[in-house]
Symmetry: C2
Subunit: 352 residues, 2 copies
Amino acid sequence: MDEHSLNLNCLVSEIGEQQLLQRLYRFCPSHLVGDDAAVLPTRGDRLLVITSDMLVDGTHFSIGLANPAVHTTSPADAGWRAAAANLSDLAAMGADPLGITISLGLPPETPVRWLDELYEGITACLNRYQTPILGGDLCRSPILTLAITALGDVLPAHKILRSAAQPGDVIVATGLHGASRAGLELLLHPEWGQDWSEEVRHSLKRAHQHPTPRLDVPPLLRHIAPTARVAGMDSSDGLADAVLQICRASGVGAWLWQDRLPIPDAFRQTQALSEADALDWALYGGEDFELVLCLPEAIALPLVQQLGGGAAIIGIITTEPSVILKDLSRTQPDRPLSLDRGFQHFGDRRSR
Amino acid sequence: MDEHSLNLNCLVSEIGEQQLLQRLYRFCPSHLVGDDAAVLPTRGDRLLVITSDMLVDGTHFSIGLANPAVHTTSPADAGWRAAAANLSDLAAMGADPLGITISLGLPPETPVRWLDELYEGITACLNRYQTPILGGDLCRSPILTLAITALGDVLPAHKILRSAAQPGDVIVATGLHGASRAGLELLLHPEWGQDWSEEVRHSLKRAHQHPTPRLDVPPLLRHIAPTARVAGMDSSDGLADAVLQICRASGVGAWLWQDRLPIPDAFRQTQALSEADALDWALYGGEDFELVLCLPEAIALPLVQQLGGGAAIIGIITTEPSVILKDLSRTQPDRPLSLDRGFQHFGDRRSR
């Protein structure tokens, strides 16, 4: 407990997001919170999985109502990403989606066309996974706000928790990391990365605007190893954040192999990005919506092989409670990673 | 389809809330939307019931961050009301609560104490019904925003839908209407209603700040008539709105007996409120969070008797698709009610 938690007159901006979450967790049953989604027993044989997200114009997307020149996200893409982020949380729990609710806070000057396109983007993503919209709420707000709650279900034996990692597990990233961050850079600074082909630039921007939730992974895992213990979460807040959160929840540590982190080939084929920047984006860029899983190597090997497309074993779970980035070529010293380095909603610690 | 639905460049402020909802319903499976909450079959024997609400500072409550002088709602009361509104939607479906998720959009200048008190209010209400918080999301926003999703479950035979009313049903209001609106008036204009005792003033303000979701009604209904067909919804948007929505969804009409509408005794004991204003607040005031139920008279009679406290039979369902307010003393002509008269989030049609 630090000094801020004693001073109730302090402001949200003065305490970190993690500390704020800890304060609010006091009000929740501890067995229900702490993962990408809450898990609730029902009277049937499956567990109910619930996750909620709030997205605010200017923070999570730019609809350009105030300034059309600066928007980086079309309404359809904003809708797709919002749906994808929530489905990704369900995938991170090993769950199958049941449906989502959508609440919208709308400025009166929102064009109806914008709303239609938002919903078209949301349903384009949901329809890929036969997931319905279960209703929601509409209200007036000075700032466009989107709150989504996604519901899924999972058999108890198949749920994926952050807290289930064990020393000796290998760590799997289900796909490339850093692509979304590079895509955002291209959208914000079109003059950047001109030495890439139009095709590469398009695919990086697409990674940012149109991420794919990895709902394909839980069924594949169940197919490969129906009764395996699997720990994990998604990498929406960055690869480093995911590994750190899993280690904290499981009371373990990790070694990550720096040269095994799956980054886009394009990162090695440009003058625009130093090796250090590429590593930074892979670890801290966020919003790639892949899964980070900890599981026995015997299951990880066929999983990575069948996933393809950038999936890789990136490290190993250790007993020592720290997360160390290791350079197997030994040109750089071991570096510990920490949660402070990732994106913080309320502070200003984002690196770029 | 009117002219607005063809012009996609029109703004949210230019079309009514009902029309906006109709536009968005196009994206939802029609069998899942249109009630206070969505109903989803699960693999167990009970249906899952889901409802979402978004509350925005300045529209739904005033936290007084910008102007402490004008806030009418303490953070604890705002929390209580938000939880109560969502639990009321579950009660309106006949469901038992399972839990809620809370997403918060927070200005950095929000005092942590305010947040703590908000959560204390939320949990004070939830704890009365043994309902846990299942997590949620936190993000930065220029305006304090609270999005709640509540989950419940119900046996298929016990679900209460808007669309199930039949001609010949009587209409039951489970309690007093207009009290919340009068309480708001007292909070906004403390100089008003001075001829009431402090006790009456306090109880009206309490009705606004601390409404009670009628989760007691579904178990009582199941006790009185385990297999009865019951239609209904809650009166959060006003008693008239509830009757009109039920009639529209059921393809029926209604007669309401003006002198049977349950209004607080205090309304008849003040110079501050004309008979017409009292009627207006009972019909259109909103936020009383009672249930409006349509059911056979043989069930309604013991229900009203056992509920007590203002519960009353207020009218009857008819075949003719209009809702008529009737004065049994025949001093006033029949008056048709319409949806346009109620509170609208995006227009400016609120009467007072």
